[in-house]
């Protein structure tokens, strides 16, 4: 009966080992496919998107009149026409020589890093060539990579300007933070969720906003202005706030109704207006986002802009959230001092070759085999049974890593190795303690040895467990991968050895 028990456990271990190490292959469309989930590898083990950002060297041609003022012309003027009108043509580089310096290259790098963190990129490498300003960015490959790339090199120049005079009233320097929030809107049956971009201004910016919102207030223009329709600026991604808007989960809803937007072309619908209110235009990278006036002075230093329309559709809502997050990342972390272009964008595989991986696996296999042989030599049948248990743990461990979706980084791969070493140490301690009890141990003696081993081993690794738990929560995937791999490994060492290894040894001892 005991032989059957031992054989059953060993057969189960062999079966699991085959699944864990080899896989389960099923014929699909004339080829064998492994039904066991594949490993999820991080970029330092699989490959990474490598992007080269190069300083923009283009120039823009501008026309100036005799007094040196820039002249905006719709039509293209010939040299003769220019000379006739007394205009001159000048070529102005997008990046002037003054801005092309090491400080600005490094500032660009810092802004890009902040944007990456804001966009939730947890694994990246960025280097800057201090001579040319070229930036090399290495990112993990996923469905968001292209969106992230398009956002990180956008200059992100935020401006609120006078609609008529184009005078810059507020810019990036006045922004403290930009956050994304959402809340339900509408009081009738047609409720939905709106996404807001909340721009929080710094001390200086708050003063400026108050001044601007007072100067450009629709109420301050004429007392006869009775009604201003809220209209959406559909030409841009950012739409107006609704007059009926109520925000949940937000603390800044007091400012929600402060902006009243008007269509660029339609203007306001006044029944008895005698003069138009002054308006401001909000621009990001010279792209007009909206033109608006203010209902009342904004003293909170916060301004909310609705992104997209209110919706009940999850997909649209997610799109709006992503769009708002991208805008927040672009303008919330300051603008790039230099304009860049993407000159190379490609997926480059890791330089770790299959051959190198094979060598490492062979080395592990040899060391593990030698370790098990040492057990057999020292502890005889108990050593052999422990060897089987050890292999079983390794197989189950690999399956757990795959099915718990733990993304494996190079650090994570080392974590696997550490767990195999720790498990060896644990079983070795257990076998030694059993042997110390007596040469032919009884079930009770194995029990005592087991308790002592558990206590001694886990007390010693408490600091390791603390470090692992901390690593699991770190938002830097290489280290969190190590934490997760180690977490499952240590949990498995405790549970598996308690159930399988000890059972095998107890059955043997009882015999």
């Amino acid at each position: 009966m005991k032989k059957i028990k031992i054989l059953t456990i060993i057969l189960a271990i062999i079966l699991i080992s085959m699944v864990g190490f080899v896989g389960v292959y099923v014929k699909e469309q004339n080829r064998m496919e492994n039904q066991v989930k594949d490993y999820s590898l991080l970029s330092n083990l699989s490959g990474e998107r490598t992007v080269r950002l190069t300083v923009n060297k283009d120039s823009e041609e501008i026309i100036k009149d005799a007094e040196g003022n820039v002249v905006e012309t719709e039509e293209e003027l010939t040299d003769e026409q220019l000379a006739e009108k007394g205009y001159t043509k000048e070529s102005v580089p997008n990046n002037s020589q003054e801005v092309l310096n090491v400080d600005n290259y490094n500032k660009t790098k810092e802004v890009i890093e902040k944007r990456l963190k804001r966009l939730g990129v947890q694994e990246y490498e960025i280097t800057v060539d201090e001579n040319t300003g070229d930036i090399i960015l290495r990112l993990p490959e996923n469905s968001n990579t292209d969106t992230i790339i398009s956002n990180i090199y956008t200059v992100g120049k935020f401006e609120i300007v006078d609609s008529e005079t184009e005078e810059v009233l507020i810019n990036n320097d006045d922004i403290k933070d930009v956050s994304v929030m959402y809340g339900s809107t509408g009081t009738t049956a047609s409720t939905g969720t709106s996404v807001y971009l909340q721009i929080e201004f710094n001390k200086e910016g708050t003063k400026k906003l108050e001044t601007v919102s007072t100067t450009y207030s629709s109420n301050s223009v004429d007392s006869n202005t009775t009604e201003t329709n809220t209209a959406e600026t559909n030409s841009t991604n950012t739409n107006s706030t609704d007059a009926n808007t109520t925000t949940e989960n937000t603390t800044a809803n007091e400012s929600t109704d402060n902006t009243t937007n008007t269509e660029n072309t339609a203007g306001t619908d006044d029944s008895s207006t005698t003069s138009e209110p002054k308006e401001v235009t909000l621009r990001i990278d010279d792209t007009e986002m909206m033109t608006t006036s203010f209902d009342e002075p904004m003293r909170t230093g916060k301004m909310q802009l609705t992104v997209g329309t209110s919706t009940t559709d999850t997909s649209t809502l997610n799109d709006n959230l992503n769009r708002a997050s991208n805008i927040a990342a672009i303008i919330g972390e300051g603008n790039l001092p230099i304009e860049y272009d993407v000159t190379s964008n490609e997926y480059i595989l890791t330089d770790i070759t299959e051959q190198q991986v094979l060598y490492v696996l062979i080395a592990i296999l040899i060391i593990a085999s030698l370790g098990i042989l040492v057990w057999i030599f020292r502890f005889k049948l108990m050593g052999l049974l422990s060897g089987f248990a050890y292999i079983g743990l390794a197989a189950i461990y690999l399956l757990i890593i795959r099915y718990t979706n733990v993304a494996i980084s190079l650090e994570g791969a080392y974590g696997i190795l550490v767990i195999l070493i720790l498990n060896y140490i644990f079983i070795n301690m257990l076998l030694k303690k059993i042997k110390n009890q007596s040469k032919k141990p009884t079930k009770e003696e194995v029990n005592i040895a087991e308790k002592e081993t558990f206590k001694e081993f886990f007390i010693k690794i408490v600091p390791i467990c603390i470090a692992i738990v901390v690593f699991c929560f770190i938002q830097w995937t290489p280290i969190s991968s190590f934490g997760m791999v180690m977490f499952w490994g240590i949990a498995l060492i405790a549970i598996y050895n308690y159930i399988v290894t000890d059972s095998l040894l107890k059955i043997k001892a009882d015999k």
């Binding site: 960025i126 800057v128 201090e130 190379s344 997926y347 650090e411 010693k460 390791i464 470090a467 290489p478």
Partner: protein
């Protein structure tokens, strides 16, 4: 026995001091040796229009870029493009590479159309930076734990000892890396983690033993 232990400790401290001094000297004089990926390098990319073996390309680079450290990577999902990176690739070497690759793969690549890209180096502190907070945080919590668990041995003493040993262990690792000219790269952080964990186990084992000895003394 006690004398033997003290002598062993003295030898260990002297050995550590020598390693640290030698390491610092090496860092000051020659700095760390970085893996090619983190150095100022040059790269050429060639579209082979077919899958290839890295070992075949390696044979070509061994001939053309003899004596130079070379990194060969497959590019794009179809793996039909190769990126060859080395410290320096001259125009002549590029031409030779193109010529040999054309011969091997029957391609008609033109050396003039292939550019040598300059890849800037990665600063050592940029590699380490993301790991500092996790380690500092973990160490902080561990120090609180050891202070509580081993309070009978003197909380402040235990905290200081643990912190110093952890720092010294990592410093010794850095010194060994500098002395042996082991390249700083993909294996460095895992190595640092391994040393960190091993040191923690050693510290805990030592403190547990001391705790046991103290308990025995108290019993007596």
């Amino acid at each position: 026995m006690e004398q033997l232990r003290k002598n062993k400790n003295k030898i260990l401290i002297i050995l550590i001091a020598i390693i640290l001094i030698a390491g610092i000297a090496m860092i000051v004089i020659r700095g760390f040796n970085f893996e090619l990926k983190y150095q100022n390098t040059q790269r050429v990319e060639m579209y082979l229009k077919q899958e290839f073996n890295v070992s075949d390309i390696k044979n070509i680079t061994n001939e053309v870029l003899a004596g130079q450290t070379v990194m060969i990577q497959k590019v794009e999902v179809y793996e039909d493009m190769v990126a060859i990176t080395s410290n320096q690739i001259t125009d002549e070497q590029k031409t030779n590479l193109v010529q040999k690759i054309n011969e091997k793969y029957g391609t008609e690549l033109n050396a003039d159309e292939i550019q040598i890209e300059n890849i800037p180096h990665t600063r050592g502190r940029d590699i380490i930076k993301p790991y500092l907070i996790p380690f500092a945080l973990a160490t902080g919590i561990i120090l609180v734990y050891v202070a509580i668990r081993y309070r009978k041995l003197g909380a402040v003493k235990v905290i200081l000892k643990t912190a110093i040993i952890l720092v010294v262990a990592e410093a010794v690792l850095a010194s060994v890396i500098a002395i042996t000219r082991l390249p700083i790269g993909k294996t460095t952080i895992p190595l640092a983690i391994a040393v960190y964990l091993l040191t923690l186990v050693c510290i805990t084992s030592s403190l547990e033993n001391k705790l046991k000895i103290n308990a025995k003394k108290e019993e007596k």
